[in-house]
């Protein structure tokens, strides 16, 4: 069937709400407004205001309430409108949800899913456009997902809800309108939340990306293919725990890698990927791993500046080209 990333996310929510009475969705404007990115549109009418619960503007409070609700036996899905706002709730996520199992010696666990929009490209400026998922990927006790395909948008919620630990799900704003075919059969989107995926096989260079970087990398791979460079595109999918094996296997084969990350370069998740490659594939590399990240500026509003600040397919292709040429 033809679907969009947004519709796939919604279908997954609907399925989860229908399947398990313990599941509910909570967040700012998820109900009556229909979700700020329209992901939850229609769900209020279907499931009512208790299970599609609009909250006041209180990120710390309702994320913490989600943790409490999970402790109390529910399986909450909490929506935070945008990753920038999640900083208001970070204490509850990091000092609370992530630590509870360990601090309690394994007695408590927090089966909570937190969804949020991330990323730039819609000219939303410096308080609505960043990519902090790498920070969450640093935290033991959390699991962090970044669906980049229709299948993952459709398929990741179920295993996230089945996971007994807090799972953060990052939806890239540029992907919501992504459209394409998704088979009707649930097998088409059934997925684990452990492995990275090779989205395009190739042997000349590995393009390692996640979220919004995946379509860019695929586009870059097409460009490169036209020039006779056969790039492999690896979609991390799961930012924590990282699937080092898939990464290493790819790079050991291609011997070159470009890591694509919409976070600001210094200290982004891309650095961890480079470090993993240093640790596990140093002797296999023909050239130092390259990175294509966001420029280190709070995201500017103006279109040309925002474009210049972000990773782009042509930048990825250029980095890959340079790696291949240099060896």
């Amino acid at each position: 069937m033809k679907t969009s990333y947004r519709d796939a996310l919604r279908a997954a929510l609907r399925e989860a709400l229908a399947a398990d009475a313990r599941v509910f969705l909570m967040g700012e404007d998820v109900g009556k407004y229909g979700g700020s990115y329209a992901v939850s549109k229609g769900l209020l009418a279907e499931f009512g205001p208790e299970r599609v619960r609009d909250t006041p503007l209180s990120e710390l409070g309702f994320v913490g309430a989600g943790i409490g609700a999970a402790l109390g036996g529910l399986h909450p899905i909490v929506e935070i409108m945008t990753v920038n706002f999640s900083l208001l709730a970070m204490d509850q996520i990091v000092n609370g949800a992530a630590a509870l199992r360990h601090m309690s010696g394994g007695q408590f666990h927090v089966p909570l899913v937190i969804r949020m929009a991330t990323g730039a490209g819609r000219q939303l400026g410096a308080q609505h456009s960043h990519s902090f998922e790498g920070w969450y990927a640093h935290v033991p006790g959390l699991r962090v997902l970044a669906p980049a395909t229709l299948a993952d948008a459709r398929g990741m919620l179920a295993p996230a809800l089945a996971c007994p630990d807090p799972v953060l799900l990052f939806e890239h704003v540029r992907l919501y309108n992504l459209e394409g075919e998704l088979a009707e059969n649930p097998e088409a989107w059934r997925c684990d939340i452990r492995s990275a995926a090779v989205r395009r096989p190739g042997d000349a260079v590995s393009l390692i990306a996640y979220g919004g970087g995946v379509p860019l990398s695929l586009e870059a791979a097409e460009t490169l293919a036209a020039e006779g460079i056969d790039a492999e595109v690896v979609d991390l999918r799961v930012l924590r725990p990282l699937d080092g094996e898939t990464l290493l296997a790819s790079v050991r084969r291609t011997r070159r890698a470009v890591v694509v990350d919409e976070g600001w370069k210094s200290g982004s998740l891309s650095a961890e990927i480079v470090a993993r490659l240093m640790e596990g594939a140093f002797y296999d590399l023909d050239a130092p791993v390259a990175r294509v990240c966001s420029e280190e500026v709070p995201m500017p509003y103006a279109r040309p500046l925002e474009d210049a600040a972000l990773p782009q397919a042509h930048k990825i292709a250029a980095a890959a080209r340079k790696l291949v040429a240099g060896t």
């Binding site: 503007l57 209180s58 400026g125 040309p304």
Partner: protein, 329 residues
């Protein structure tokens, strides 16, 4: 037309207030239009319907005072004195914009006139206003800081912490709450257990006043009184402006959560036509004068649009400027 109270101030002020409301209205209508044309992007939050608040309140402040606003701040910026050209150019993302195109509609700034933005984190401006008030006190400057925010922000922890700090330290802060009854699609009674916002403010021992936010005269009068209290050293003051936005929350909002009748009823109370009717009834305004004011506002807008269109974007090579002082990062 029912009887109206006489306008409680002189003609020059009355005309000034009306003119400001018209300028905001026309600016915003143009912004909506150019959004439709794809020249303005990102989030655009229109202020249409609420003009009386910015027009009436900002005019009460002195040039030394500080203003902190939200993402719905075109009106406040304009009345404060940010040139319309600079606002429009900012929305167009141009280097001549009041934030060099870095900010866009949600992040208008103007240091020269102490306009501290344009904050798009709901509630995020409140602590800044507290700090500005603290700096005024410690530097023994007589300025006060005024913070505009929506009623939705009242649920945020930032509101609570800021009210308490300002009250505890008796800082010269004016909290200007524009209660337009909705935070995106969430009505006040679905976000606050206590919907009497003045009662909430009073729970911090902060004096709270209420103004009819659809009536620029009420806004002006109540704000002036509130400011007098703050300036007297009595500590912060909170003003609730009861108002309404006629448009959707942003250009992305399908506006499905409000009753059409409710919107229409509020439109009947529109701040521009009610105030001009009142001025006319008082003999302070003729239809010709009104049309002239409106024409002037429209001319200013056209000029601003022409300016914004013609202005260049900042060169991409300058992307990294203004991240930190000097050479960054």
């Amino acid at each position: 037309m029912t009887a109206v109270d006489p306008v409680p101030f002189d003609k020059a002020l009355a005309i000034g207030l009306l003119s400001d409301m018209l300028r905001i209205r026309r600016l915003e209508e143009a912004a909506a239009e150019w959004y439709g044309a794809g020249k303005i992007r990102g989030y655009l939050h229109l202020y249409i319907g609420q003009e009386a608040v910015a027009a009436g309140a900002v005019r009460c402040l002195s040039r030394e005072d500080d203003i902190v606003a939200t993402y719905r701040e075109h009106g406040h910026a304009l009345v404060r004195g940010v040139p319309m050209k600079a606002i429009m150019a900012e929305m167009f993302g141009k280097a001549a914009g009041c934030s060099r195109g870095r900010g866009g509609s949600m992040h208008l700034f103007d240091a020269a006139i102490r306009f501290f933005g344009g904050n798009a984190i709901v509630g995020g401006g409140l602590p800044l206003a507290v700090g500005l008030g603290l700096s005024a006190r410690m530097l023994e400057e007589s300025r006060i800081s005024a913070c505009f925010f929506g009623e939705g922000a009242v649920a945020e922890g930032a509101f609570h912490e800021s009210m308490n700090l300002a009250a505890l330290w008796r800082l010269p802060v004016l909290f200007c709450c524009e209660n337009n009854l909705y935070a995106m699609g969430t009505a006040l009674e679905r976000s606050e257990s206590q919907t009497d916002l003045c009662a909430k403010a009073e729970s911090y021992k902060v004096t709270a006043l209420r103004a009819d936010g659809m009536d620029v005269a009420s806004v002006h009068e109540v704000t002036r009184d509130a400011l007098a209290r703050v300036r007297s050293g009595a500590g912060p003051c909170f003003v609730e402006y009861r108002t309404y936005r006629f448009r959707a929350h942003s250009m992305f909002d399908p506006d499905l959560y409000r009753d059409r009748d409710e919107v229409e009823a509020w439109k009947k109370r529109g701040p521009i036509h009610t105030f001009s009717a009142r001025l006319k009834a008082e003999g302070l305004l003729s239809e010709a004068e009104f049309l002239a004011l409106d024409a002037k506002a429209m001319a200013e807008v056209s000029e601003a649009v022409a300016f914004a269109e013609a202005a260049p974007f900042e060169a991409v090579e300058d992307l990294a400027r203004d991240v930190v002082a000097g050479e960054g990062p």
